[in-house]
């Protein structure tokens, strides 16, 4: 890739067997805005804080939760630009899968392919690992699913998970509140409450983002008006 001076991998092992670049990437994720996801019995919800650097920023131009396919959505913690690159690649891979097999890509396949891309960047010349962790939410023939993908390329399936700044508090909160047979609307309330726990300031429908997928298998990012309704129910 281009300059031969950098055809070696910048991600190399330390004597203790760690890949320090990946550790640093995880630190970048850990200092990003909190995001979380909850898998309910009949759907999945993902949510994130949307703290903008200044009140002058037009918040409608920022969309942190993105759709990868009609039935799979994704949110991140970490570096926004890296996220955009991954979203673009994942969307393309989903389309290529469809062109090849004439089947909409199953959630696990898309997660696997995205994770493979992230791993490539830990073992290639002249590139650095992605500074994001993703939460991929989808609904296919295997039901509702929630996956986390890390900068190293490892992925985990979660019933509920959180990433970013407030990860430990959020996870503890989720552990207490999660039940196996939770309904999606309860899950949305729980997600809002979890975000509220670690939020510095007042949360409103303009500074959080929520994405849901129900048994109709259509991933939707909720509008500020819909978020407002859920917020009022939680109060």
């Amino acid at each position: 890739m281009g300059d031969s001076q950098y055809s070696f991998s910048l991600t190399t092992f330390s004597p203790s067997g760690k890949l320090v670049q990946i550790e640093h990437a995880l630190t970048a994720v850990g200092s990003g805005q909190t995001s979380l996801g909850i898998k309910a019995a009949n759907g999945v919800v993902i949510a994130t804080e949307k703290k903008l650097p200044s009140i002058l920023v037009d918040e409608t131009s920022v969309q942190k939760i993105q759709t990868l396919t009609p039935n799979i959505g994704v949110v991140y913690s970490g570096m926004g630009p890296d996220f955009r690159v991954l979203v673009r690649k994942s969307r393309k891979q989903a389309q290529q899968y469809y062109r090849l097999y004439k089947e909409t890509i199953p959630v696990t396949q898309l997660v696997r392919e995205t994770a493979a891309v992230m791993q490539e960047f830990t073992q290639s010349g002249g590139v650095r690992p992605f500074g994001v962790s993703l939460l991929i939410a989808g609904y296919d023939d295997n039901g509702p699913q929630l996956y986390q993908v890390d900068p190293s390329g490892s992925y985990f399936s979660w019933k509920a998970s959180a990433m970013g700044k407030n990860v430990s508090n959020a996870k503890t909160f989720l552990e207490k509140r999660y039940t196996e047979d939770m309904e999606l609307d309860d899950a949305i309330h729980t997600a809002i409450l979890t975000l509220k726990e670690g939020y510095e300031g007042q949360i409103s429908s303009n500074n959080i983002e929520i994405g849901v997928i129900r048994s109709d298998r259509e991933f939707k990012v909720l509008s500020p008006a819909e978020i407002k309704d859920f917020l009022e129910e939680v109060e």
């Binding site: 890739m1 991998s9 969307r91 393309k92 389309q95 290529q96 062109r99």
Partner: protein, 272 residues
Amino acid sequence: MAGAMDLPAKGGFSFDLCRRNAMLAEKGLKMPGFRKTGTTIVGLVFQDGVVLGADTRATEGPIVADKNCEKIHYMAPNIYCCGAGTAADTEAVTDMVSSQLQLHRYATGRESRVVTALTLLKSHLFSYQGHVSAALVLGGVDVTGPHLHTVYPHGSTDTLPFATMGSGSLAAMSVFESKYKEGLTREEGIQLVSDAICAGIFNDLGSGSNVDVCVITKGKTEYLRNHQLPNPRTYASSKGYSFTKGQTEVLSTKITQLKPKVEIAEGDAMEE
């Protein structure tokens, strides 16, 4: 390990084997044929949008390869495309552009425009210099209104209020030229399209079987598969046949009275 990113494929047709093929053809080798759709495809713009129509016969030379194939291809929720020419080419090129339009929709967050589909198709066909044998009628309704275009295999396009393509295009065009007017209603549009396709079906050998129609309006698309079936297949009925009296010619008649021949014998009743 150089390069994590895939290099983009150098596009365009690879002419490497053309010389060999020409040499083989000269030596007398018969090239394998491919399935051409023969076809009547049409489209027209009506009051609220566009109506597309197609027949359903796919031919392989003189043989009907598929009696009920689908020639109206999905491009986007608001854009459909009829294809004439080589079936594999029309399928592949419409699938590819449909995929590209989906990615574009995700990137922009907007509904696809017909001109976008048009430009993607014509660029691809031009770069293959006519070797991709796809002649298309592309129609749809987007934020700028209803649009209808024809795309030729070499990459040229037309924008028209009514259009026909395929081997049955002359038969269909004669119907359009005499009956088309601006501001048709939905029913009139569907009727006119069906009439044009039927003209192709009955007057062109390369077209036949049924009529497929697709109506696209702002916010709604209706795909009327097999809207008309003017060529029903008749099979042997398991219920048997009924013949009307007089269908079979009677050669001779002989009547034998049975009553005098019957013997009445007293006997025990049958056991239950």
